[in-house]
Symmetry: C2
Subunit: 317 residues, 2 copies
Amino acid sequence: MYIPTLDDMKTARERVTPYIHRTPVLTSEFLNDLTGAELFFKCENFQKAGAFKVRGACNAVFGLPEDMLEKGVATHSSGNHALSLSYAAGRRGIPCHVVMPRTAPQAKKDAVRGYGGIITECEPSTTSREEVFAKVEAETGAEFVHPYNDPRVIAGQATCSAELIEQVEGLDAVVAPIGGGGMISGTCLTLSNLAPEVKIYAAEPLNADDAARSFKAGHIIADDAPDTVADGLKVPLKELTWHFVQNHVTDILTATEDEIVDAMRLIWKRMKIVMEPSSAVPLATILKNKDTFAGKRVGIIITGGNVDLDSLPWMEK
Amino acid sequence: MYIPTLDDMKTARERVTPYIHRTPVLTSEFLNDLTGAELFFKCENFQKAGAFKVRGACNAVFGLPEDMLEKGVATHSSGNHALSLSYAAGRRGIPCHVVMPRTAPQAKKDAVRGYGGIITECEPSTTSREEVFAKVEAETGAEFVHPYNDPRVIAGQATCSAELIEQVEGLDAVVAPIGGGGMISGTCLTLSNLAPEVKIYAAEPLNADDAARSFKAGHIIADDAPDTVADGLKVPLKELTWHFVQNHVTDILTATEDEIVDAMRLIWKRMKIVMEPSSAVPLATILKNKDTFAGKRVGIIITGGNVDLDSLPWMEK
């Protein structure tokens, strides 16, 4: 297992800069008053393809050696990684094969195709996905880019907190959502090297709290198909992300579905930004752990903004 | 009738700077490709109290002489001006009386009260509003701050385009929504003095196109209770705003309800920002007048972000 280093992050940063946004950091006096902390929202919802995932995807795609370009890249994802990898491959002009469940929303399929991704549909089960993906990989010879358990991807995600600590001085803590752990691992990689005084908290839906339970147990616990509104956070840790979580995360905090939806609505209402349920988990956990963050300067990663505008979670409550 | 001058704008700018945000300018490669123009979105949806109106309200409130402070300010509005005047008065610690129809949404009443505004309810008719407002004004002795037909308010709104031309060089045109004409008048005031080469376009809902018809007719035409999703744009021009429109606006372009809602959804989806239907009218008019704007550098004023998140217009279509 190759553990990405600070040099990998630096290489990634040079590599991806032409293809991504240096996203802005927003603040809200209202939310500062409400939490008693000073919050700095790193807005990856404004990122290319609508999420931080484009950082890792671009690092993987633009780091591919010449002799692998023709066959392109492949992945299985029904979410932001599929979009981001399609975007990155499109920018480099190479094929991108995406295995998606046939039940994935049409809007997501259209978006992947809009960026030039080639979709192969599978049944909505792990068995089918693995079978279909193995076939696609064998037939195309494309390079597999895992959504998070990949050193190239983690080094790419690590560029986000490198920007954040340049944009905001004197942070005491950073809170980011945790699903598979790609963003958290990138955050750990950068901060443990460049700003080791900054505490790193992961925020997780209580309904999909496998990372929190892993953290307590000291080994990876993977849940089967957890159900949460924060649909980007359903996947389990893998060995590479577990390495970073285990060594550099201060705590993993959880929030209920209602708390996540309330925090999401609050951010939309007060900050006037469109972001995903997953991105609301950090604020939800800060609101229920005020003592931990009171008086502190806290960075929050707003991980993405790809939501279905026709079906917002507070309307389904 | 006192016509505000460039000096009034400069005074306003010094006066309001401590109480407002210098809002960011966002861009979208997707929308540039779609329109063939280079678009620069001045995001007043991120402004204090959620709209540009706080500029004019702060200029009026912080320009009040000492001997008028005790009695405070008053207005009639069920929209952003009520919020903004309440915010400004709260910051200066003076009373703010707002006459609102009893049928106004509870959320709007709560927001006005949240900023410290004192609400007096009227029936939802012009007669009742005028009667009740006259009574409130007589009883309190508060200074009336009209939502737009007021030189203090126009000089305040004029600070928005002063920022915009510092943030974006070489603009060919600015497009802003028009209702009563406060934002457009402020834009005319600043640009006609500081950047007379920039063409000013007003964007109006076809369902409330009294300004467009006034512009063609050469005199003010006021509609009675027009109906449009762009609820900030239902009010008619008044003599002061008509002065600026008549002298400095290049054209007034209109868009249908469907075009406005489609443009609004497009901005939410691609730019990940929460903004009002009124703020979508400029993009809607640019999309249907592509030849006018192709190849041009175009500023767009996103006027505000106060929407009812429980009832978005594309869900009602």
